[in-house]
Point group: C2
Chain length 499, copies 2
């Protein structure tokens, strides 16, 4: 037996010959190794180190605070949670509080609708400490269906809803079902939120990129999509799905009803599953959000037959919008047009993970069914919601204005989501310096920015970008203008240094 | 283009030629299709239907309640959450309550340690609505490390801890890293919790079964493990890890320090990663729980060198024990002996999912750091904890006694976990009837039980069992004795019918 063991060990430890450990970086699942996820990558880790050094009293850094503009995490920054949501959650967490509602009202300002909602949710889930149905508690799915019906003007079926632990886990579920072998391809916009490429890498499937048009406010170009499909097919790829992020991440672009129709046309023509990532649906500054589901149902009415077999997954989340409850990990996806047998398999897959967090399900219910005009909590809810919304828009514009002042920086006026994604024209000397370090030039720029200012943003290379262009993504969530000025000052010095 | 589309459609729709849908059950990821997860399978779905029919006033069923004894979901049944935990969570959900602590104390019985704990947790996570570090909030990991140190008498490093959304997601993460290609094998006890086989099927890796010894109280037999390894190697399998569930699920068996040493010996000898599923570590009725981590550190002290390279993952959860907070989705795993580069890859993988639910992280902190003697909340905590523990033991024994009265049923005295797993000697005629229906005989039995009594248990075939033996798994969580009598009566009629 010893001999066999030795030969195994040898096979396993290409890079670590002195150890008898089973696992090393060369023999683990190489799809895990190959997956890239810049949002929480090297820059984020370094920013965290700086934050800890500042807490520990380190005075040697050239800044006195770290600004996490790398991730859409509103409550890490300035944003306060919406009172109605959290009051309800405090009661579902400790139902014993409901035994003295008068005190809740008198001393803590809880309104009757908060109490009613908590009681209704508890009746539905029994206890937030119990596993729910794997698709989410039935009563909560009913509420989500009503929300979709109200939003779209078309019916929604609670059986087609799957509550999730955030949109990310929903995307992972769906891609896991779609990707059947290494030739499976999924169309992904470039730039994109790197969850998509990372998930496809993990599943050993192919990312089929289609470029968004920066010059047209990061719009979706159908010809680019068709060309990508053609090229992919020529390379033997079985193109099965198209991801659309609307409003866009990292671009902030918001699609028109006509843009959406064009994507649905391609999907109908080419038998593609449409994965509509609509987590920023309430973060729209310009125009109006149109859901893929609504557009699909309209087209199905207008042209019977043509769109009947389109398969659509639309994703939503409690992490974004004016809710910003990332840490709770909640969301849902809705299926439309799926084969019932496939849907059964999706159910089985999610059942292996048992159920999404039940508190997050309750929060989702509050999000889709907030206090209405006339309800006791409406006034405060409305004030908080509008305050967050206006604050985001104001910050987006002030960041936009600052970027416009910067040499060699170009960007679109903010349309939605939580991000700006400016182009930076990086001087040739800086590109050389970056190459010498073995880094993309935008990563080099963002690392220099972090080292000099404590502001953490994500290089465009983390999302994908047209060759020879450079960008970075920053959220506009951080309060104040000091950090914006830090960027402006750094940029000017960077340009001077490498001019 | 139409022609290309048609050929694609044809390729895709083997079983549904009339549709232009992209996905059907024959072309989706077949590993998803092949995965089996009986805990929430056909029987559970049928039980849910019965429950709904009863709610809707259906009087045609031969029972008036459905008993979900198929899943360890304490708060779905009788178990109340522990007050201290939920009081703390109500405050982290709504920190505005902390503005009037006098009222909390006077009207709601909150003690000072509840308030202090909530404040400490909030200082740590900032807001439960913010994403935390992907491994979990640093301060909470510190608490978990202290808990492990106290439990084992050996140090634990917070950097080696990964907080999770329940143990299931931890298992999935670890197996995803370990399984590098279709020849990777993982030793799994039979019977097992089907999460393991389901995850391995999803990852297209091999389950290498090793049989537990029913006649020795479901103990772990090293010779059986070695034989399985030998057979697997002969079949070209790269055996990389061994799963041990202690206390056992579904068996309830509790391993001795000596049993654990034997497993660690094999792991050291064969360079296997040990995956110790220890979620039932406080559910032990007989003897004392010994953790794999403690035993490993002892052996490393006693015999320097031999165990140095053993890689251990130990998993824990807030869903089981006396906590029973399944719906919150929380837990952790600890790594020991892992290559730092591999550990980095594990970090990257979890970072793609952003972070585990932050409320569940707070609850985990309360679980590992509960009120101590002298703390204001201690007395109530102690009373509740002991009450749950004694209740579980009492129910386990009363169920055990009932099963002993049943013809052709054999089982071990309950040792731990939340389950009994009796053998049932099914009459030949019943086996014939089952075969005619294309079902394993124990599934046939469990389905008949559900149809006749409303009691939902899981057939042994869902966990794996020695050939020609039949079992079922039932939790002992449901209150009362009525449902036990229903089983006894059904069993006697079943035996008469098929004798």
């Amino acid at each position: 037996m010893t001999q066999t063991t030795v030969s195994y060990t040898a096979k396993r430890t290409l890079s670590a010959v002195q150890t008898r450990k089973c696992l090393n970086v060369d023999n683990i699942n190489q799809h895990v190794r190959d997956a890239k996820y810049a949002v929480r990558g090297e820059l984020a880790v370094k920013a965290e180190t700086y934050r800890q050094r500042l807490i520990d009293g380190d005075k040697s850094l050239p800044f006195d605070s770290v600004i996490f503009a790398n991730i859409g995490n509103p409550q890490q920054l300035d944003q306060k949670p919406i009172t109605f949501f959290r009051q309800v959650l405090s009661l579902v967490e400790n139902p014993l509080l409901l035994e003295n509602t008068e005190v809740l009202k008198k001393s803590f300002g809880y309104k009757q609708d908060v109490i009613d909602r908590a009681q209704a949710l508890l009746a539905n889930v029994q206890s937030v400490g119990a596993y729910s149905h794997s698709q989410g508690a039935p009563g909560i799915r009913d509420s989500v269906a009503k929300f979709i019906e109200k939003r779209d003007g078309f019916s929604a079926n609670p059986q087609d809803l799957f509550l999730t632990g955030g949109a990310s886990s929903g995307v992972s579920t769906i891609l896991n079902v779609i990707c059947s072998d290494p030739s499976t391809g999924v169309l992904v916009p470039i730039p994109q939120y790197p969850l998509y490429t990372a998930s496809l890498t993990l599943l050993n499937a192919r990312c089929v990129p289609y470029l968004l048009e920066e010059e047209k406010a990061w719009g979706t170009n159908v010809n680019a999509i068709l060309k990508s499909i053609e090229d992919a097919k020529a390379a033997g790829t079985d193109v099965r799905a198209i991801v659309v992020i609307n409003p866009g991440n990292p671009t902030g672009a918001s699609l028109s009803a006509d843009d959406i129709k064009k994507v649905l046309d391609v999907a109908a023509e080419e038998s593609l599953v449409v994965i509509a990532d609509e987590v920023y649906q309430t973060n729209v500054f310009k125009g109006e959000f149109v859901s893929f589901k609504k557009r699909l149902r309209q087209l199905q009415q207008e042209q019977p037959g043509k769109y009947d077999d389109v398969e659509l997954v639309s994703l939503h989340s409690i992490s974004k919008g004016m809710v910003g409850e990332c840490g709770h990990r909640g969301g849902y996806f809705e299926l439309a047009g799926f084969d019932p047998q496939v849907q059964e398999q999706i159910y089985k897959l999610v059942s292996i993970g048992l159920c999404p967090p039940v508190v997050a399900q309750c929060l989702l219910e509050c999000m889709v069914n907030p206090p209405l005009e006339g309800d006791p909590s409406f006034e405060l809810y409305q004030k908080e919601y509008t305050g967050i919304s206006e604050g985001l828009h104001k910050r987006a514009l002030s960041l936009f204005n600052a970027f416009q002042r910067m040499e060699g920086v170009e960007l679109q006026e903010p349309q939605g989501a939580m991000y700006l994604f400016p182009t930076i024209h990086i001087p040739a000397k800086a590109i050389e310096a970056a190459t010498a370090e073995g880094r993309p030039a935008d990563e080099f720029y963002c690392l220099a920015l972090l080292d000099a200012t404590g502001v953490c943003v994500v290089p465009g290379s983390g999302f994908g970008q047209k060759e020879n262009t450079f960008h970075f993504r920053t959220t506009f969530l951080a309060p104040g203008t000091d950090w914006v000025e830090r960027i402006v000052k750094f940029h000017s010095e960077f340009m001077d240094k490498y001019r």
